[in-house]
Amino acid sequence: MKVYIPDALRSYTGDRRHVEGRGATLAALMLDLDRQFPGIRFRMIDEQDAIRRHMRVFVNGDEARRLDVALKDGDDVAIVQALSGG
């Protein structure tokens, strides 16, 4: 599936805006992304498996707030950095 990577994380993806990932759940997708781009997961997901405060993940346009959200081939996943103050 196609995964949109925000500006703040493109240093991990070689400046690629879109990458391909695999996984039956958002948790599995995050592990796959970390396998491809070491370190990227911890910047988005904390050690208690919570999506960090200012990160948002959308699956086909709907916000996913937990990592156990199911995914299927063809889904579009967008990782977005929420706005935070200066």
């Binding site: 370190g39 911890f42 050690e47 200012h54």
Partner: protein
């Protein structure tokens, strides 16, 4: 050990300053006289750099504790004195909590300390929320100190995220005794001062003599109510410690109690502040940079008249050092990690302000000069071993 023992003055040569700011890091390098300075950077532009430290053992490895407003915290590493950087493979992180239990998550790594000279590659880190971590591979992977992080008593003393400084309670001032790698100390804001003689397997609370905020009925024997801002061990006499605390300036000799040595500061200035610097050879000499700790705690220079204060007699008396600093309307804030000294003769002193200025004294505080302006808010300043 004699008072003016041990370390020889560093040979004359350039001084390198590592400047960690809220929006990136900078490196300042002087000429041999410490008069002309060149700024390079920014490194990690836009990232919050909480602390950047050079390993004094190999003089090549640099660690920088970074985070951003959005992303999780990490540690960046350079093994070529800052030319190239790589992210730590396993940054400091608390263990995943068992199902149904509330776990903790590192917000940022606040403090970095290189290990003992006999243990190359060992580093220690303090985090917010409060945790102590150790790396044995030059900062690439970090493991929690369960003797602190998981100990119910320590967790109680640390309190919750509401019990610390505005951007989170911090474990800081991790000290390894240069004579003995098993002798360690650290401070918790809040949570008191702690000492180990077995390399961190067990810890003792050392708060005897420290005062607590008056008027609330706080028990001075409870570490919960103690807020050490900055601890330093004297390189010239490691049996002597100095401390800038929320409730004054203190000194401790051997295993004795803390003695409040800030009582002799001018009453209009007080003895509240954040940073403290000790002389590299003379254990009777230390510097502080007082802050206004009245009413709502403005945390700026008292009266808008910034000054360092030096003691030359272990805290019996203090002298004001403000030559070259603004005479009025100078509302400096200098954070606990943002003042340091070099090992030269005379000692060079350096501080960075939340207004993005770096000030230098080449003569132990007798005269100050601003060498850099317009940087982002300065969080930490360290001299890199040359």
């Amino acid at each position: 050990m004699p008072q003016s023992a041990a370390r020889k003055p560093a040979a004359a040569g350039p001084v390198t300053l590592l400047v960690a700011t809220r929006k990136g890091a900078f490196i300042l390098k002087s000429d041999n006289a410490r008069r002309a300075w060149k700024t390079t950077g920014p490194l990690f532009l836009g990232q919050i750099v909480h602390h950047m430290v050079l390993d004094p053992r190999d003089k090549r490895t640099l660690l920088a504790a970074t985070s951003t407003g959005h992303l999780g915290p990490t540690v960046m590493r350079s093994t070529d004195r800052g030319r190239t950087w790589k992210e730590a493979a396993k940054p400091p992180a608390f263990p995943k909590a068992p199902e149904g239990e509330q776990g903790r998550s590192v917000n940022h790594t606040f403090w970095l300390t290189p290990g003992h000279a006999s243990e190359p590659g060992v580093w220690f880190a303090g985090t917010a929320p409060q945790g102590l971590f150790r790396s044995a591979d030059g900062g690439n992977s970090w493991a929690p100190f369960s003797s602190i992080n998981d100990d119910p008593q320590y967790r109680k003393w640390m309190g919750s995220e509401k019990d610390g400084t505005p951007d989170g309670p911090k474990l800081h001032s991790i000290i390894v005794d240069p004579r003995d790698r098993n002798h360690m100390l650290f401070g918790m804001s809040g949570g008191g001062v702690h000492e180990s003689f077995d390399g961190g397997r067990t810890w003792q609370v050392i708060i005897d003599g420290l005062e607590v905020v008056e008027g609330f009925g706080f028990d001075p024997k409870d570490p919960t109510f103690h807020d050490p801002h900055c601890l330093k061990i004297c390189p010239g006499n490691p049996d002597r410690l100095y401390q800038q605390n929320h409730c004054g300036i203190y000194r401790r000799d051997g295993k004795g109690p803390w003695v409040r040595i800030g009582r002799s500061m001018p009453k209009t200035v007080g003895d509240i502040g954040f940073p403290l610097v000790v002389h590299p050879r003379d254990d009777n000499t230390a510097w502080v940079f007082p802050m206004d700790g009245t009413q709502v705690w403005p945390r700026v220079s008292p009266g808008g008249k910034p000054a360092a204060y030096v003691t030359r007699n272990g805290g019996r008396t203090w002298q004001r050092q403000d030559k070259g600093l603004p005479r009025a309307q100078g509302w400096f804030t200098v954070k606990r990690q943002a003042m340091c000294g070099d090992a030269r003769e005379p000692v060079g002193l350096y501080f960075g302000t939340t207004g993005g200025e770096v000030w230098v004294s080449r003569n132990e505080g007798a005269q100050w000069a601003c060498i850099v302006r317009h940087l982002p808010e300065i969080y930490a300043l360290e001299v890199a071993a040359s």
